[in-house]
């Protein structure tokens, strides 16, 4: 009997270890293959488009995580994305900082801003939260156009960035190459996805979901419901800021359009298209959205076809592409078992 129990326990532990090893190997292969195979097969144009899709996917990931874990819809993701880009660009172009110093400075300013904003808005109800993120985002997007800040922001013309120097040993000028940038964006997007996957399975994820489900009961269970929400809000905006830094490194340029509401709504749509549960859906949604926009643009009917596509996607895949596919696979598995 004891032997059986011991055997079962060992087997379970062994099973877990082997599953974990398998997951690490599969992840390493996926990370490497995703970073380098497309650079051999795809044209520069496709790689650029794919990189834009990955950046949008990272924004969608941040929007989806907050929706899924905390039940909060943010409409101000672009203000963090574009704001981080502006700070990074100003740091390098106006303040003469090295890329690494500009990145750190921009990161600290954005995190401080997000903590202050989050402290004000995460206590509110979901509708008020959505409107407040929208208002804060619009405020930032108009602030960069102020005449008094034109010397720093370039006003409506935006800001051109001289990419020189290196970050973590990578020459930033090299990132103008579509293949190298794709590899960088892929690795960062996958790591961000993994980080959110892990957070969703951590205690913080469990507390966020419980607060979303029944905030009052959480307070009556002795939990502080404010701090976990604030941490969640800061974390998703860190990812949005990283996407903003990458955007500047790729484009060498930042403009008021990157702060616009359309970027925030595109991220929301990408998240809904891909599926908000998990990390794969939003990133896939970003890629689908970027390629679809290009295809629709080529026909000169971007807005019309985008609208039709959104309606079709949401009707056909109410839980997003990934949610729909996993349901279909589940159904297929059930049928196989039944037969």
């Amino acid at each position: 009997m004891t032997g059986d129990l011991h055997g079962t326990a060992t087997g379970t532990l062994g099973g877990r270890l082997s599953r974990m090893s398998l997951a690490i190997v599969a992840l390493s292969i996926g990370l490497g293959a995703g970073a380098f195979v497309p650079t051999c097969l795809a044209s520069d144009f496709v790689l650029r488009l794919g990189s834009e899709g990955l950046l949008l996917g990272m924004l969608a990931l941040s929007v989806a995580f907050l929706m899924n874990q905390a039940g909060l819809v943010a409409l101000g993701a672009a203000s963090i994305y574009g704001g981080a880009g502006y700070l990074f660009a100003i740091g390098m172009s106006e303040w003469g900082l090295t890329p690494a110093a500009a990145l750190c400075t921009g990161f600290l300013i954005i995190v401080a801003y997000v903590i202050v904003l989050g402290a004000l808005i995460v206590r509110t109800n979901p509708l008020a939260f959505m409107m407040l993120t929208l208002a804060a985002g619009e405020m930032i997007s108009h602030a960069v156009l102020l005449e008094g800040l034109r010397d720093y922001t370039g006003g409506a013309d935006g800001l051109l960035v001289q990419l020189k120097g290196s970050i973590l040993g990578i020459d930033v000028a090299d990132l103008a190459d579509p293949a190298r940038f794709w590899s960088m964006a892929w690795i960062v997007a996958v790591l961000a996805g993994l980080a959110f996957w892990g957070i969703a399975r951590s205690r913080l994820g469990a507390v966020l979901r419980a607060v979303r489900a029944n905030e009052e009961r959480m307070r009556f269970s002795g939990f502080n419901t404010f701090v976990p929400r604030l941490i969640g809000y800061v974390l998703v905006n860190v990812v949005a800021a990283i996407a903003g830094f990458l955007h500047v490194l790729n484009a060498g340029f930042v403009s008021p359009e990157s702060l616009g509401l359309s970027v925030s709504t595109n991220a929301l749509v990408a998240a809904l298209m891909g599926g908000i549960v998990g990390s794969l859906g939003p990133i896939l949604g970003g890629l689908i959205f970027a390629f679809a926009q290009d295809e629709f643009g080529a026909r000169g009917l971007t807005q019309l076809l985008t609208g039709v596509a959104i309606v079709v996607f949401i009707v056909v895949f109410p839980r997003g592409v990934v949610g729909g596919l996993s349901s279909a696979l589940g159904l297929f598995g059930w049928r196989r078992e039944a037969s």
Binding site: A206, A210, A213, N214, R217, R219, F220, S221, G222, F223
Partner: protein, 232 residues
């Protein structure tokens, strides 16, 4: 353990409670609060647990004025509450939610709570998919985690049959005695209250009407006139 002094609560221009006093001693006391609809019973519980801020008066818990303390602070100090409308985490399994709260409150005797509330056979079920009576027990179990010193229960018998209500009251009474804690129970089922509570307070139109042992309350002519009627 709990002392309420001249507590008043208003909803705009409507006074839900007026100058209510209540004294609940510890050590195994199950204190029932009864009264007709609109008497202010749930409002009293809301004011005690911090859900509603009183317009006047004080709430003292273990000698300390806690009138302005937060709900989560009160919970961490051992004041727990269950709800009239079951308040649980429907998307989590019974065990997940009990474990989440137990970890937070540092309670390593979760098995005791599961056993007392007879939830052992429902642990892996999503709370939203179990029978209402079991959901009520989960609601009470969430309040029992962390070895509370004062348990506040708002109509624990709501939605249950008279037999189930009586059984739940007996459970709570035994628990309160065994752990030498105190419980304040608001309930419409006066039979269960008189059968299990050691002290009873009657509210009427937001005012304190009487407090005493069940027999004394049952015989009090003011309580009979205002609430119990001659049938009681």
């Amino acid at each position: 353990m709990l002392r309420i002094e001249e507590l008043s609560v208003s909803y705009g221009s409507v006074r839900a409670l007026t100058d209510v006093d209540l004294d609940v001693r510890g050590d195994g006391v199950l204190h029932g609060v009864i009264g007709p609809n609109g008497a202010g019973k749930s409002t009293l519980l809301d004011a005690i647990c911090g859900r509603r801020r009183p317009t006047a008066g004080t709430v003292r818990y273990c000698g300390e004025d806690i009138t302005r303390r937060s709900i989560s602070w009160r919970r961490r100090q051992g004041m727990a509450r269950s709800f009239q409308r079951t308040s649980i985490f429907e998307d989590l399994t019974v065990h997940e939610q009990l474990d989440l709260v137990a970890q937070h409150l540092g309670d390593d005797r979760l098995d005791d709570v599961i056993e007392v509330m007879d939830l052992g056979s429902h642990l892996d079920q999503k709370a939203g998919r179990i029978a209402y009576g079991v959901q009520r027990r989960v609601d009470v179990a969430l309040a029992l985690i962390g070895r509370p010193r004062l348990l506040l229960m708002d109509e624990p018998g709501a939605g249950l049959s008279a037999t189930e209500t009586l059984r739940l009251f007996e459970h709570v009474r035994d628990l309160v005695r065994e752990r030498a804690i105190a419980a304040v129970v608001v309930e419409h089922d006066v039979d269960a209250v008189f059968a299990c509570c050691s002290m009873v307070t009657v509210l009427d139109l937001g005012r304190h009407l009487a407090t005493g042992a069940p027999e004394a309350i049952r015989a009090d002519h003011r309580v009979i006139a205002a609430y119990l009627g001659t049938a009681a």
